[in-house]
């Protein structure tokens, strides 16, 4: 069946037309930051237009400018034509009438977008009574219908619940119910699935696609993830540094991307089908060294690393947290249940799972950053769980951890030099500070930062650079095991590829063993030799990377892998069928 809405030529006229949009932010007294520089694109009726870009590309600012949801220091110029009216020059009062009525928005964080002191029913009803003037039984009736429509079970009871009683996915469904309450003609979705797990993401995307069809509305979908777009959008606008780099139908973008930046975005994400030896980085594309979105197909696959000796063996590790119940009682809530695995020298064990699966708890317990409830962690013939605090300190340098958020894991009051020297001073590595400084400089260069970085503070670096500083800090102690806890999850696609390449190089050079914890299945697929899948604190499947991704045995693993957005190629069969 051919879905007519996927053919952009079928549309006539435009619903929203943005022409030469500029958004400037006044920063400080006389500095101006140009966030959006002359962006133009159209949103035809009944279409999904995806705006794709990395952080700082101006994609969200563009979307928020439509409904004037920008902060006061923003200056907007250009035309935003919606339904024949220029929103950029309409009075604020008529913009307010359009919000939630003609155009509605859903945001990234459903938890912070909902008011915690009102029931979800009240919050949906507010929009309806404001714009549609519904009252009493009719209002309640409509709220229940909406909640039912966005797929929350037992709608009549669900409307009496408070936001914190719902899961993240259900909260986002409530946000969507509020957004579609007044049958808007345009739905702006600003990264609506980024904060959600991959299985929930798929459900929400399916829901938005269904509602778009049923309500005959257009969707302006803002995202950083091109793969999500491929299955879902009709047209794609690629943005970088406040400018539109490329614009086209989803087929054109995925099939024959012309701009090097688009090609880079497509190629820098690790593929699921195979494991290339290296990932290309954006700079390669922009400088013209590499071209074409399908360069990865030509890169030879990385062979699994040889089986080294076992460096870390975890046996039946368990961790439970005490949760207060009633006045004096407390219940043990298990977070990790009897997890066992081995880590070999020079190899990477990927640990995947959704939020709440206990994967981070495993990492922290192995490091003894918090104490496990039971189990053994054998490292160099000793059980780390039984070591005293002093014995542990000397063991600590052999096992290191790189955290998720590069903005939080470096002390903002330390210079990079202090950050790198501190662990060497604690463990008395090298004879004096001069020698330590030489080591720090060498390591900085090794992770791709200049020597001048030593005297700077963390806030002067970008996210990717900070993550490299964190990696260099671990390397100062010459560890044997490196635990990467979502270490690349907070990074942009292009930066992510660089850090992944760096991690692989360091592994080859130093023979490190990685425990790579991530919710990102594609990244784990790329970097891991073996993969362990966790669900609700238990290991459901553990096997080598190829086996798990090609023929998953456990039903949960199968469901998880089926939820990964696979880009345009995966969507094509449904088109042809």
């Amino acid at each position: 069946m051919t879905n007519p809405s996927r053919n952009p030529r079928a549309a006539d006229g435009t619903l929203l037309s943005i022409q030469d949009l500029h958004v400037d932010f006044a920063v400080g007294r006389n500095k101006v930051f140009h966030a959006v520089k002359g962006v133009s694109f159209d949103v035809p009726p009944n279409r999904t237009i995806a705006v794709v870009g990395e952080s700082g590309s101006g994609k969200s600012v563009t979307a928020m400018a439509i409904l004037r949801l920008l902060p006061d220091n923003a200056k907007v110029s250009g035309t935003i034509r919606f339904d024949g009216r220029d929103l950029a020059h309409e009075p604020m009062s008529s913009i307010k009438r359009m919000r939630g009525n003609d155009i509605s928005v859903i945001f990234q964080e459903p938890m912070t977008s909902l008011n915690p002191v009102f029931t979800v029913g009240d919050q949906i009803a507010e929009t309806l009574s404001l714009h549609a003037g519904l009252r009493g039984q009719a209002l309640r009736q409509r709220v229940v219908e909406l909640v039912d429509e966005v797929g929350i079970p037992d709608a009549a009871r669900a409307i009496g619940r408070y936001p914190h009683e719902l899961s993240g996915g259900q909260q986002q469904r409530v946000m969507i119910a509020i957004a579609i309450a007044c049958n808007p003609r345009l739905l702006i979705a600003d990264e609506p699935t980024t904060a959600l797990d991959v299985t929930i993401q798929k459900q929400i995307l399916d829901l938005v696609a269904r509602l778009k069809r049923e309500h005959a509305m257009s969707v302006l979908f803002i995202t950083h993830d091109l793969r999500v777009v491929g299955e879902f959008a009709d047209e794609v606008v690629v943005m970088q540094s406040g400018e539109v780099r490329e614009r086209g139908t989803v087929g054109e973008i995925f099939g024959a991307a012309r701009h090097p930046y688009t090609q880079a975005l497509l190629a820098c994400r690790p593929p699921l089908e195979h494991r290339p030896a290296r990932l290309p980085i954006v700079a390669d594309f922009l400088s013209g060294r590499v071209a074409g979105a399908h360069v990865l197909d030509a890169v030879p696959d990385r062979l699994p690393r040889p089986d080294g000796p076992v460096v870390l063996e975890v046996k039946r590790l368990s961790k439970s947290f005490k949760v207060k119940r009633g006045l004096f009682g407390s219940v043990e809530v298990p977070a990790v249940k009897e997890v066992s695995f081995t880590l070999r020298r020079g190899r990477t064990l990927g640990l995947v799972g959704e939020s709440g699966s206990g994967k981070t708890t495993v990492g922290l317990s192995v490091m003894r950053l918090h104490d496990a409830s039971a189990g053994e962690v054998w490292f160099e013939g000793r059980d780390l769980m039984t070591l005293s605090r002093n014995e542990l300190t000397s063991m600590r340098r052999r096992l290191q951890i790189v955290f998720q958020n590069p903005y939080a894991s470096l002390n903002p009051r330390f210079t990079v030099g202090q950050i790198l020297l501190e662990p060497m001073r604690i463990h008395r590595i090298e004879a004096d500070d001069a020698a330590r400084l030489r080591v720090a400089t060498t390591l900085l260069k090794r992770v791709g930062l200049p020597e001048s970085a030593l005297n700077k503070y963390p806030h002067e670096f970008s996210g990717g650079q900070r993550q490299r500083i964190a990696i260099a800090r671990c390397l100062t102690m010459k560890p044997e095991v490196l635990i990467c806890d979502e270490s690349v999850s907070a990074l942009d696609v292009s930066v992510q590829a660089q850090v992944l390449n760096l991690l692989l190089d360091l592994q080859d050079e130093f023979g490190l063993a990685y425990l790579f914890i991530s919710h990102d299945l594609a990244v784990v697929r790329y970097i891991s030799d073996d993969v362990m899948v966790m669900n609700r604190g238990e290991v459901v499947e553990i096997a080598d990377s190829d086996t798990i991704y090609r023929s998953p045995q456990n039903p949960y693993t199968q469901r998880l892998l089926a939820s990964i957005p696979r880009g345009y190629e995966a969507a094509k069969p449904s088109l042809a069928a």
Partner: protein, 379 residues
């Protein structure tokens, strides 16, 4: 995932952290060289923000002027002779001119009435020697002190210069305020750091102590501490140290709460976890890692406490529990002014009141600016 975190409100982050695609090392080096000049620490950045704040700068100048006066008086360069009785009793301020001063006149009239009025020289056996004594008196330089009718800002009951008194009083009051605030903040920081960092039963014990301590009305608490210290023979003569101890030991609670909250917030931060992972000790994590990140809060609390304790000292001295009798502070001046106001001598009240009001206002505004400048928007 980062693409998601595109901030809608670009504050300093956009300018400070160009989060674009990373560049190869060579480009990075160029970029780094360009930015070397701008390489700034957190304190440096705060200083720059402070310089741009007009109110902050003006109030800072006022505060610095006060501190210079305090220093001058401390080293005896100014107002060291504040106890000299240079004017007539209640000499009026110069700018008022010579207004009728009944208090001074009353004193003079008493003296005049004592002169001999009746000639009894023929029966007086000492009469022949009067002349001799008169000559000798003329030779010795007895020098009747000429007391000024007016002084720049008037005089008190004993004819002491009110301006000098106010300067000396400023020295005592500001010193007490600063020292007591320091004591309070150090105690509060230590207790707060321990409670917030270790949590668990240690935190519970500290919290119980804090709750009991704060359940006592503040003035009552200060008065009972003051009474205890006065009763102690050693401490009773320690001068201003007593009052510093009283204020410091009762005033640590707000610093404690703030620092404890900061420590609870920071101990869960990844950089502290990272420090744990590299093997940093508890002490190092508490005072090398977390303390500098909480220092802006502590500094602001310190300056707020200075203002509060200057006022508290005034209240204590007013109640007679403050500085010793041979010293002067704004509080004792205000205490004296109580009875002077009845007879219309307002200048001592104005001198102490204005000195304190200007300082407290300037210090409070300065503290606000300080907080704005130190508030680290850098994440």
């Amino acid at each position: 995932m980062s693409g998601a975190s595109t901030p809608l409100a670009p504050g300093g982050e956009y300018a400070a952290v160009p989060d674009g695609p990373d560049l190869p090392a060579a480009d990075l080096a160029d970029q780094a060289a360009d930015r070397d000049a701008a390489s700034t620490g957190v304190w440096h950045a705060a200083g720059k923000r402070m310089l741009r704040d007009r109110v902050g700068m003006v109030t800072m100048v006022v505060v610095v002027l006060y501190l210079l006066v305090v220093a001058g008086s401390w080293f005896g360069w100014i107002a060291s002779d504040w106890q000299a009785e240079t004017g007539v009793s209640y000499a009026s301020p110069t700018f008022l001119g010579k207004v009728e001063n009944l208090e001074a006149l009353g004193g003079a009239a008493d003296g005049a009435a004592k002169g001999p009025t009746l000639d009894i020289s023929d029966v007086d056996p000492l009469a022949p020697r009067y002349r001799e004594w008169a000559d000798r008196t003329a030779k010795t330089d007895s020098g009747i002190v000429h007391r000024a009718e007016t002084l720049p800002f008037g005089a008190d009951k004993w004819g002491r210069d009110v301006l000098k008194k106010a300067i000396k009083g400023a020295q005592v009051s500001i010193f007490v305020g600063l020292a007591a605030a320091l004591v309070a903040v150090v105690i509060g920081t230590l207790l707060g750091a321990v409670a917030g960092y270790f949590r668990g039963w240690i935190d519970d014990v500290f919290e119980w102590f804090y709750s009991i301590f704060t359940s006592i009305p503040y003035i009552l608490l200060i008065l009972s501490f003051a009474a205890v210290f006065r009763a102690n023979p050693v401490l009773a003569h320690a001068g201003v140290l007593t009052i510093i101890a009283v204020l410091g030991l009762t005033g640590w609670t707000s610093a404690y709460r703030l620092v404890r909250a900061e420590y609870i917030k920071h101990r869960a931060r990844e950089y502290v976890r990272a420090a744990d992972a590299i093997g940093a000790s508890n002490f190092s994590r508490m005072f090398v890692h977390i303390l500098p990140n909480a220092s802006h809060v502590i500094l602001v609390r310190l300056s707020l406490d200075v203002v509060a304790f200057i006022k508290a000292e005034v209240i204590l001295s007013f109640l007679g529990l403050g500085v010793p009798i041979d010293m002067v502070s704004w509080g004792t001046m205000l205490s004296e002014a109580q009875s002077e106001l009845v007879i219309g001598k307002w200048w001592q009240l104005v001198a102490a009141g204005a000195g304190m009001a200007v300082l407290v206002t300037a210090f409070s505004l300065f503290t606000d600016s300080l907080r704005d400048a130190l508030d680290p928007k850098l994440k």
